[in-house]
Amino acid sequence: MATALLILHGLVAVSLLGAITHQTLATCASPTAKPYSFFGRFRAVRSAGFTNAIVVLYLTSWLLGAIVYLYFKVDVQPSLERDHHWHTLGFFDLKEDFAAIGLGVLPAYWSCWLQPVDGRSDHIRTALTLLLTFIVWWAFLIGHVMNNIGGFGW
């Protein structure tokens, strides 16, 4: 059960990572990018269309992560502590903090993307999207390291 949930959590996280990275690059790419260049193609996408998917995927990923965390605490964490993986556990602590803060930011992020863009709300939208992107990337990478920690040899 735990393995199935972990795989599902990973798949949802990959989808979320793809969606939010695409939206962020589309938002941050220069308006002067050539239409057929790499960034030009990113800009051509209607980035607001990702918003609902990102919110749903974030909530799903968070919920699955919260369930898998119960198994982690009982079955995995004691052996990591025994083997003195303190840095990895510290990074994982930050992951749980960031994920919780991202949950709090989510309504503001959603609200920003619902509203049509003008000069000032564009800054807010970009800032919140970047914050959420950082959280998602951090959570993904640390989760991946934690999942493969035996193979990393840390």
Binding site: D97, A100, W110, S111, R120, L128
Partner: protein, 158 residues
């Protein structure tokens, strides 16, 4: 809830959530404690070693993260609802008080400077104290708070 009230709720909720989460972590204010090995949930913050031998901490690991998140969510919900219920003119008055001595561009510059200095301070603290430091976590949470608060200031000016 109207669009304007929802926006006020969303930004107040975001700012208050990060702040309450940081306070919950720093002060240990968990709404409940989960014991996953036993499948038990107890109200408030409980430590295994408080009630029996310290060795029980290994047999019954406790989890506070759910409780911290729930505490922050409840506190932020109250603040968010209060912000949503405030009349529009009060919000505009607050925004005017916050930035009364400067025009819009100065205010934006000041806000960005605040965020940048908070991030620099977090980085310094990170370098100085190592990774698993509660102060670093607190500062990072405060960075997120300042970001959302700054955004809320912009929002109330729209």
């Amino acid at each position: 809830m109207s669009g304007s009230a929802y926006r006020r709720f969303a930004f107040a909720y975001g700012a208050a959530f990060a702040l309450f989460y940081a306070i919950s972590r720093a002060r240990g204010l968990a709404l409940f404690t989960v014991y996953p090995a036993q499948g038990v949930v107890l109200l408030g913050l409980n430590r295994s070693r408080d009630v029996a031998d310290p060795v029980l901490e290994f047999l019954a690991p406790e989890m506070y993260w759910y409780g911290w998140t729930a505490s922050a969510a409840v506190g932020a919900l109250v603040i968010g609802l209060l912000a949503a219920l405030l009349p529009d003119r009060l919000c505009r008055f607050w925004a005017w008080r916050v930035g009364r001595s400067s025009n819009g561009n100065d205010r934006m510059r000041l806000s960005h400077n605040t965020l940048v200095s908070a991030l620099v301070e977090s980085f310094r603290c990170w370098r100085r104290t190592g990774l698993n430091c509660s102060l670093v976590k607190l500062l990072i949470a405060l960075d997120a708070t300042s970001l959302v608060t700054i955004s809320a200031r912009y929002e109330s000016l729209l």
